[in-house]
Symmetry: C3
Subunit: 218 residues, 3 copies
């Protein structure tokens, strides 16, 4: 990965990416666990929904790309989900106050996961448009699996711009490739595009148009 800017802590073994990866995985897992708790799931059910939210998108990506699943070679992601479960159990009453922090973390994770998904797809020799789809899937499919598991209509199909932020980031990625930008700058621009689109969409309540039912008169 070109996007790795090593920060020399712990003997250089933890990179800036690792930190963002932790933040994103944690935030995604928290979102799954909180929705599971609203449905009175037990700890195991909450853990599974949290894990599915955090690693589901990347799992579908890796299955579709026919590469080894990323979480099978590093227990980090499942440990991170376990920490998220502990967090929710212990700090339950204070979660609502952390809303903005979680939103920020979630947007950071969305940005990283999109970049990773696009780059991994391109590294498999597939065209950029497949990369944009896979990047969006890495970022957004976990939330769809989460909503299927708790038996709700997937949120991202009806609410503020979410997966569209990934697609906008993907288009920026493609633009950078065309004008031959440095890989690391490409990754940063793509991630920033996802993050800013997401934050702006939520702040100004920007939604995509809704399809009206066929019997609607207007």
């Amino acid at each position: 990965m070109d996007f790795i800017s090593e920060i020399a802590i712990w003997g250089g073994r933890i990179t800036f990416i690792d930190i963002i990866d932790f933040i994103g995985t944690f935030a995604f897992a928290i979102s799954g666990i909180r929705l599971a708790s609203a449905k009175q799931f037990d700890w195991f059910g909450a853990y599974v929904v949290g894990a599915a939210t955090a690693i589901g998108g990347g799992t579908i990506r890796d299955i579709m790309l026919d590469v080894p699943l990323f979480w099978m070679h590093d227990p980090f992601y499942l440990i991170c989900t376990g920490l998220a479960l502990l967090w929710v159990i212990i700090l339950r009453k204070h979660l609502i106050k952390m809303h903005n922090t979680f939103f920020f973390f979630d947007a950071v994770g969305l940005a990283l996961f999109t970049v990773v998904g696009i780059q991994k797809t391109i590294d498999c020799g597939l065209p950029l448009w497949v990369g944009i789809i896979m990047g969006s899937m890495t970022g957004a499919a976990g939330g769809v699996i989460r909503d299927v598991l708790i038996n709700e209509v997937p949120l991202i199909f009806r609410k503020e711009i979410y997966a569209m932020a990934c697609i906008i980031g993907g288009l920026i990625f493609g633009l950078c490739k065309i004008i031959n930008v440095d890989p690391m700058l490409t990754h940063l621009a793509c991630g920033a595009g996802v993050f800013i689109t997401r934050v702006v969409a939520v702040k100004y309540h920007i939604c995509l148009p809704t399809l009206r039912p066929e019997d609607d008169e207007n």
Copy 2:
């Protein structure tokens, strides 16, 4: 594919199969988009449900067969889904009148997808009974994914004969193989079997028996 009868238009690059493939993909996508619109999905959500309906069955097939996903090497299917979305947005009020046309297109797509699924499975060296399952999955699993995404009980598990039409087509395919029929005729007979079964089942409201609940007295 033996089933390709090239029609010499556009320099021979568009085949009869391509046209049927477009019709089927378009009809499947329309069915997903219409059901999404009944649930007030936004354009993105509707597109995703449309795409899942159109390419979901073939995607599951290719994952199960461990071959590259068919839509990753040809943007045709996702463009076709985009056209279906445009169609629904623009012609929303007139869709209900096109009901019979869509039903016809859907049955044509079901027939083609079944044939393609069976042939692709056999080409992977798997036995015919796996081919029949994979053919039915290619035709019918997209609709199941659609219904899971819009949070409804899958229609094909309760309504008129749908996946059973694929299975009947598959049995015809097997019969043709046994009596050593020419591959192209085999494909045509299989597709016709699917199409006719589906049309007859809907016209005469032929359903499979329903399993009665266990506390039912009769």
Copy 3:
């Protein structure tokens, strides 16, 4: 498989494992078909839900491990599901009386599927903790797919200990590996751990703690 104790019937071709495999597959399929019948599914829908319950977990495992799907090379599992459907159709009114038998069969199947899932994962060269996840998935994911298909919140996320029994069995498996127990004994200890945990949990209504909703005052 080390766990095979051949019983010399039918020329030695049917093993003890085959019998347990049949019992487990049958019980899993029955559970899917019964829940489908409560939703007025037709015979086809009930068969699909039964098959998804019986072979869904192993299918996800094999896709994640990137190995050929186990049921594609042996029609046994789909025939077994067909027999389960026949059983439910014919003996509908008597099923409720067989409740304890089905529970027993289901627990036996859970134990076997867990052992098979762990061993298959280790045979792929993956670490034991991945094996425990894959073993639990082999045993429990079919039930999750079943509940998604009938549009219910997955039972195993809220009720008695089910997948946790697989994890406990998996930990026993790991312990045996560490202290270098004979493979066959390892398999037996793991399976017994799953079975006993499951039976004890149901008998004494042992549940995991539930996550309380965030607005809960206590």
